[in-house]
Amino acid sequence: MAEHELPERQSPLEPEYHPGSHGNFEHGVDVILSETRPGSILQLAAWPGEEKQLIEIIGKVTGLALPDGAGGGVSNGARAAFGFAPGKFTVVDEAEGLAAAFAGAITPTIGTLTDLSHGRTAIRIAGPKAEWVMAKFFAIDFALPAFPLGAGRSTNHHDIFAQIQRSGPDQFDIYVFRSFARSFWKALCHASEEVGYEVQ
């Protein structure tokens, strides 16, 4: 099967990705920034009336119990899924090849599948000041009661569209267009300087 393997993916962040502690970290590092580099990032969309069917398929293929409802989501470390628009879902897997697993399951009468694995970059921000830094970027409520664990949000930062999932009480995964990812990453690093940050 070696002939079917895709070339090794390069990170768009690489020239600006500097592992180690940065900024005002003398009193401790308050956020950790990293690129999670999932193998699969998919966008699934259901035709009107087929949403529940699609949620069921996501459950069958990934084993994730995706809650119904606006922005509902779930993550288990290796895999994640969340709603980002009516009838539309982002599904992520550490491993490559998730699109193939869905290919037979999502029939043309149910909806569509778009493989964005090479089109999006996944950035994780974690730590006690993650909410604080995120609130400087996006005009949405990041408090846990308003943005529960696993939930997803669609918003943007200066026209850079972002899908955000809360993957932990103090942790967010941000999906941005690959072509804007380096610029977004640099801005996120600058915004994290005041609290002290570590790139892993």
Binding site: P48, A70, G71, F84, A85, P86, K88, A139, I140, R153, S154, T155, N156, D159, F161
Partner: protein, 92 residues
């Protein structure tokens, strides 16, 4: 100005794009009724008060919405998905 998206919840107006007057009736594509096309393209109520509008949550979930906005106070009186095709009730 905050618009409450039925999917995303309250969001700043900067995330939305105005798509025009929501009172317009588009004639059937094959229609040769020039008065109807003229009205669709040019006639606007332009009320000083509640106004039916179409907005898109372009910086969020990207859904098209029916919004009733007061043109004097900018108060948003109601929001709903435009998909259903039903006009929001308005006094204008």
């Amino acid at each position: 100005m905050l618009i409450t998206c039925p999917y995303c919840g309250p969001r700043d107006v900067i995330e939305f794009t105005y798509q025009g007057d929501g009172n317009r009736e588009r004639p059937q594509p094959a229609s040769q009724d020039l008065d109807a096309w003229n009205a669709y393209v040019y006639d606007r109520l332009n009320p000083a008060g509640d106004h039916n509008e179409i907005w898109q949550h372009s910086g969020g979930c990207r859904a098209h919405l029916r919004v009733v906005r007061n043109t004097i106070s900018h108060e948003i009186l109601s929001t709903a998905f435009a998909r259903g095709g039903h006009k929001t009730e308005s006094r204008s």
